[in-house]
């Protein structure tokens, strides 16, 4: 024990400059990541802003059962889950398909042009994306409605009709991230041995067969990793865009856990209640990612850890 202790201290002494360099970063993680993680304990308290964490009373699972019993529970959970699921169903395959299409282009400058243009929306802020969506879908001057009325369809007031919210959200999301998502698949595609294609051509495989039997298996590991990560993020839908696109009229389908937490927690000051809700979803997300990972390790052999 003594021995180990002293060797630890000598190591610390040896690495003192490295540890010094690490210090600001470590402080950041302690203050802004780990203190909040311990701050989750307020979910089990009647947190009072004036009493602070140490003086507030413990109430156990009161706020959890309060959440499970509120009429908002099911709608909010369902909206979050469905929005995440639709995002996964449409947002996950889209970049794979685009990458395969780009890969089939033989002219390299065209390839680069398509890539460059499709990355662009990724760097536009959510406020601008929401702004574009609202403007384009506006019932009076919006392009989409002008188009609809030009072909003789009734104008739709997209933004106040709850039934349209999910489509709008998912469409803008695919638009924003489809190009950016292709990067990893295109990189994986370049790693495939071109000799495989030659051999396949010799055997008379057409392009569809080549894609099915060489290209897709070639990028399968990348596909699996991204899928696991995406499944883990099902409940973590970006707060910003939902907050910006939703209106009280569309809460029925648009109110998700993070916007609900913001509303009841920050604007109404129910800190403990909101934290309990957040913790509940955090744990479910965590279970999702662990389950997806172990499932994939068993089935396909690739996993993130």
């Amino acid at each position: 024990m003594q021995e180990q202790n002293s060797s630890f201290l000598t190591k610390v002494k040896r690495d003192k400059y490295l540890l010094l360099l690490l210090l600001p970063c470590a402080l950041y993680y302690i203050i802004f990541k780990y203190v909040p993680i311990f701050g989750i304990s307020i979910a089990f308290m009647d947190y009072n802003l004036f009493k602070g964490i140490t003086e507030s009373d413990w109430v156990g699972f009161k706020y959890f059962s309060m959440f499970f019993n509120t009429p908002d529970f099911w709608p909010v959970l369902r909206n979050t889950f469905l929005l995440g699921l639709y995002k996964l169903i449409f947002g996950f395959p889209a970049p794979i398909i685009l990458a395969l299409l780009i890969n089939e282009v033989s002219k390299s400058f065209l390839k680069r042009f398509v890539q460059t243009v499709s990355y662009l929306p990724h760097f536009i802020s959510n406020v601008v994306v929401a702004g574009i969506a609202v403007m384009f879908l506006s019932p009076t001057g919006g392009v989409v409605n002008q188009l609809l009325s030009a072909i003789g369809v009734d104008r739709i007031n997209f933004l106040v009709e709850a039934s349209w919210f999910r489509s709008i959200y998912v469409t803008t999301d695919v638009w924003q991230h489809i190009g950016w998502g292709t990067i990893i698949y295109l990189a994986a595609l370049t790693a495939i041995d071109p000799q495989l294609y030659e051999a396949a051509r010799m055997d008379g495989a057409n392009r569809w067969k080549q894609t099915l039997n060489i290209t897709l298996p070639g990028i399968a590991p990348a596909i699996v990793i991204i899928l696991i990560l995406d499944i883990g993020k099902i409940l973590e839908i970006g707060f910003e865009k939902v907050y910006l696109l939703s209106t009280p009229a569309t809460y029925e389908t648009a109110d998700i856990i993070s916007t609900y937490v913001y509303r009841v927690g920050l604007t109404q000051g129910n800190y403990s209640y909101a934290t309990a809700i957040d913790l509940f979803t955090g744990i479910i997300s965590f279970i999702f990612i662990v389950a997806a990972n172990s499932f994939s390790r068993r089935v396909s052999g690739s996993s993130i850890w």
Binding site: F8, D15, Y17, L18, L19, L20, L21, L22, P24, C25, Y28, Y29, I31, F32, K33, Y34, P36, I37, F38, G39, I42, L101, E104, V105, S106, V114, T116, V117, S118, Y119, L120, F123, I124, S125, V127, A130, G131, I132, V134, M135, S138, G141, V143, W175, G179, I183, I184, A187, R207, A222, E240, Y243, L244, S258, V261, L266, Y271, T275, D278, F286
Partner: protein, 287 residues
Amino acid sequence: MKPKWNWFDALNALILSGIVMACLYPFVYMLAVSLSDSASIASGEVWLWPRGFNLDMYQYVFEDGRVLKGYKNTLIYVISGTAISMIVTALGAYALSKTKMVMGKPILMLIVFTMFFNGGMIPTFLVVKELGFVNTIWGMVLPGAVGTWNLLIMRTFFMGMPQELEESGKIDGLSEIGIFFRIVLPLSKPVLATIGLYYAVGMWNNFMGPLLYLRDADMQPLQVILRNIVLSGQLTGTDGPVVGDIVVVEDGLKFATIMVSTLPILLVYPFIQKYFVKGALIGSVKG
């Protein structure tokens, strides 16, 4: 043998042109509308080119004053935030790239853990509040100072540095700090540019940060002002949710505001795009 141009290529070209159009058209359209006169916009004549070209809308945007103030605030946050983020991230990533550093591995695992599990909105808000950072520039630049993904990208890059270079530095009597500043950093320009751009764009686009941590109207960055003008339709008047007296703002003006706040990214984008891609690629290499 030249591959033949067949129906597949034609279909593919069609789909890809569709995607290119979908990605570019909104910007072309917004630019056209913002440069047209209101009569042409109202009659729906503007599709691709401005009709009745004028710069009035841009003049209004800048006369409003809030946009300029938002610009100033955003620039302050972007510059100081990126600087702080870069320093903290680079130092931390370098230390963590030394795999034999004492406690290196557990510390790294604790950091990666925060990618999967975190305190959430309210506890983080309370910490920022307790520190007295609400309504200060610190509330904007510190809570998101280190992006774990960026940290890992930098770490991967530093790990790829040739060991011999650092050893030669050590023989010349440099400490770890000296090696970092005089040998490693000058050789790391590509990764520094990449991560710096990630941080800068992230800060430029940040909306949730000011929503949570800034109450003072004078401190709001461009994104918040943009939202007030475009989504809430306020030109002048109070901030925050308006229920009753909504001022009607013309579409041309909204588009002009969007263009003004997005133009910097649109203009530099072709030049910085390759760095972004490089970063995404380093990040996807399994560490």
